[in-house]
């Protein structure tokens, strides 16, 4: 990966980069690079700004909080892993290459792997593994969707630029091939959602079905029943008029391309997988061709960050299994937080090794802390977008002396 940087130290240069801060992986972010200071120029996305504008602080490895050499830190980490019977490699906030190296290290040490987003990932995997689903990807949404339902989420709390990039398009620069983007219908189902982004450019308000999170399972089950063609005797469900849901069902049936979007992290209630399944089954029913329908429908799982989609995909091809491991017994904890200094390990009574973001401020001093590069900032790398269809290269954009996670993992492995 080249850096388009001239060598005059005070001359800032600009370059287009890919942002790993959320699952959308926006690859049109323009940044100004001045020595190691980076400024985001063309987006107000707070996640993007926070990511690219993070400072590069003390990069020295530490043993019990005291600075040490990289060699000593690696050898101490290796000795802790040698003494461990079943370490847990957690956090796993890294890219494909980093994950691959940690996967190998875990194999060598009889370790288990658990991503920081394990819980929300498991909700989606439970649905995939019990019934499968019919889904779509972001470019299809941009070009086809005429009805978009945001279920239990406002989307923008996770994916700031979703509406800007894929829904309300500036027809000069960006457009939809098969639909009039300004005429799309946006429907929200849920509580306390920030629906501002759903207002069309000409000021049309989105539809909202306001219901509490805990009522979502029931409301989505009713919506599915309506699409199935069932006649319901009740007038309302969980405080919502059935007629409101019938109106939503009609819109879905009349759509040329309806998209039902959810974010597993926002569906944080017991048995959330069943609610996701209600959504995906609604899509499947809409796609059955025996109901005089003239359109298509698709599900869309959004959110995603800390390389969760990458770790899940890489785990799947390397091991044959998706990454979905909760509550694992372990006697040592290896925490990986390459992307985000604020993601801290849980308190542990076991030896703690952290391979992560140099800016991490700990609540519990790790036995070993080795600062590593952040992919997309300090080193190149590869990440999956939240829809799993698109995989993008990340660039190195600032000078640094940090080792990569892969280098450290390999060196530790070499000492075992």
């Amino acid at each position: 990966m080249e850096i388009t940087q001239d060598n005059a130290p005070n001359n800032p240069s600009t370059t287009i980069v890919t942002c790993p801060a959320c699952g959308l992986l926006c690859d049109n972010v323009s940044v100004e690079i001045k020595q190691s200071r980076i400024r985001v120029l063309n987006t107000a996305c707070p996640k993007s700004i926070q990511f690219f504008e993070q400072a590069l602080s003390d990069d020295s490895p530490k043993i019990n909080g005291e600075s040490t050499t990289l060699k000593q830190a690696i050898s101490h980490a290796a000795s802790l892993l040698k003494a461990s019977k079943n370490p847990l490699f957690a956090g796993l906030s890294t890219d494909v290459q980093g994950f691959r190296a940690i996967y190998n290290l875990a194999n060598k040490t009889n370790g288990n792997l658990q991503h920081i987003n394990a819980q929300s990932m498991a909700r989606n995997m439970a649905v995939l593994q019990s019934s499968g689903w019919q889904t779509t990807t972001l470019t299809e949404v941009k070009n086809r969707a005429d009805v978009i339902v945001c279920i239990g989420t406002d989307i923008i709390s996770h994916n700031t630029r979703f509406f800007e990039r894929f829904v309300w398009l500036n027809n000069q620069k960006s457009d939809a091939m098969f639909t009039d983007s300004g005429k799309r219908e946006v429907i929200y189902i849920g509580e306390n959602l920030n629906t501002k982004a759903g207002i069309s450019p000409d000021g049309r308000q989105p539809e909202s079905v306001n219901c509490s999170k805990s009522d979502l399972p029931e409301i989505l089950a009713v919506l599915r029943a309506l699409i199935m063609g069932k006649n319901l005797k009740a007038q309302n469900v969980a405080g919502i008029q059935i007629s409101d849901l019938i109106a939503v069902a009609d819109k879905l049936r009349q759509a040329k391309y309806a998209v039902l979007a959810w974010i597993a992290k926002d569906l944080d209630f017991p048995h959330a997988a069943l609610t996701i399944q209600s959504i995906t089954e609604t899509v499947t029913l809409l796609n059955q061709n025996d109901s005089n329908r003239t359109g298509r429908a698709a599900g869309l799982s959004l959110g995603g960050s800390d390389g969760d989609t990458s770790a899940n995909n890489a785990s799947t091809w390397l091991s044959g299994f998706s990454l979905n491991n909760d509550n694992i017994e372990h006697d040592a904890l290896v925490w990986i937080n390459s992307f985000n200094a604020k993601k801290l390990p849980e308190k542990t009574k076991h030896p703690l090794i952290v391979l992560g973001n140099a800016n991490t401020k700990f609540e519990q001093t790790p036995d070993v802390f080795i600062p590593v590069t952040t992919p997309g900032l300090d080193c190149s790398g590869t990440l999956f977008r939240v829809d799993s269809a698109v995989i993008l290269p990340l660039k190195k954009i600032r000078e640094n002396n940090l080792p990569t996670l892969s280098e450290i993992a390999r060196q530790i492995e070499g000492l075992l």
Binding site: I16, T18, D27, N28, V96, Q97, R100, M125, L128, Q129, S130, S131, G132, W133, Q134, T135, T136, T137, L138, T139, E140, K142, N143, R144, R165, F166, K173, S174, D175, A176, M177, F178, K256, Y257, N287, N289, R293, T294, G295, R296, A298, N312, N313, A314, T316, W317, L318, S319, G320, F321, S322, T382, F384, S388, A389, V390, I391, L392, P393
Partner: protein, 539 residues
Amino acid sequence: MGADGVVQDIYIRNGKIIAKPASHEKISQTFDLAGKIVMAGAIDMHSHIGGGKVNIARMMLPEFQETKNYSEPEAHICTPNCSHHATPNTSDTGFRYIEMGYTAAFEPAILPINARQAHLEMADTPMIDKGGYAMLGNDDYFLRLLSSNADQKAINDYVAWTLHATQAIGIKVVNPGGISAFKFNQRRLDLDENHSHYQISPRQILKSLSRAVHDLGIAKPLHVHCNNLGAAGNFETTLNTMGASDGVPMHLTHIQFHSYGTEGDKKFSSAAAQISEALNRNKHITADVGQILFGQTVTASGDSMMQHLNAKLANPKKSVIMDIECDAGCGVVPFKYRDQNYVNALQWAIGLEIFLSVEDPWRIFLTTDHPNGAPFTSYPHLIRLLMDKSFRNDAFAKLNLDAQAMSNLTSLNREYSLYEIAIMTRAGAAKLIGLNDRGHLGAGAAADITIYTDQSDREAMFAKPDYVFKDGELVVKDGKVVKVVWGKTHTAKPAFDIGVEQGLKQYFDKYHTIQLDNFKISNDEIAEDGRGGIINHTN
């Protein structure tokens, strides 16, 4: 090329086969292969080994990973550590292939937008060489070009650009126009039926793409997955498709799935005779079979339109159907083929009827469309079915009786020779793809060599070679891997007019969701870690 039953010495230096060296040159190591059968490493020209839909299949079917052993009677001869379910992880894929003497496999359905994932997975697949065919013909960029009557040169440039950008060696079209039409809610698309939005037909797509591939001068003909996959009566579409390219070469893939008639009480019959006869007559057409074998597998296809129809037959009952990036789609449907099921039994017989009725082994290829017809680990069993008539007829006698009544398989007496097997799985495949230095044992060839002990049980023989050499290194001994190597990625990069990027850039900026530059996969990405590397087969 063409050494059949010849007894001779083979010399290897720096990974290549060389002519007999001068007498003063020292030979550092010798293997005594007296009485052994020596072949080039086998090449699987169509096997879904990497990329989005294969990984979705793995993800969706954790139960497959638990079943280490294939309990069906069809199982091949197992080696220790054998996991040969339908969705092996990347290292198992490489290990199972090399243990059978295969030294290369080609992923036939790379979605251009998803090519980076396919290459990441192939990079993690040890032991064998790999490569892939990029899917076009359902992407909106191409369909817009074709429907706006763009000239052939514009199409050719776009096809060549795609080969470069995706690091592929061939071009595939899946259900021409159909994947896109499904996004507009069309549920079937016939060869001469129009796509409802673009008002162009699959025939026009085939004509344009086959011409482009031909004009660019790459070896691999357009790889065609015909319209109407799996549908009773689809053989007519297949026959008509052979004529869609005006004599320009095309390869019809997994043709077994496209050779169905509508005769009999069940309105499902074998059209293998018509298809084979047409293959024998149409010298510009090649085909691989896509044999089914009984047992549990999963079908992973770019054909979202037809897989959506098949989803009702899923076993276990789950499936994934995706629309992908105005580029293509996919459908992943687990499937259990049963010998007592009329349709499945007849599918089995149809595949074998085609194998035995197509005369030229250079134009028919041995595949199960892994994992769609069966896992690739069943190849030794399939080879025995082709080489051993009594074994085949014994298997046939166990099938669903109604299916037996509808097949002429027992009247086909042909038994493939070792030489024909070598052509079909080595020389022919290398020639088709354009791997000039593979598939044969002549001087200058890469030293990918497999050595078998001649056994009357051909399944046992092909399941467990004595030795396998990859690029001159001994990597398998007695059916077990003794050294891990990583193999290379084969590509084709014909010249093209870079001006094609102007239109592409505008299109990407306006309609796509990534930058054009990020769509392209660099050589460095594939050579990453010093493990992989690229071989370009363009002259």
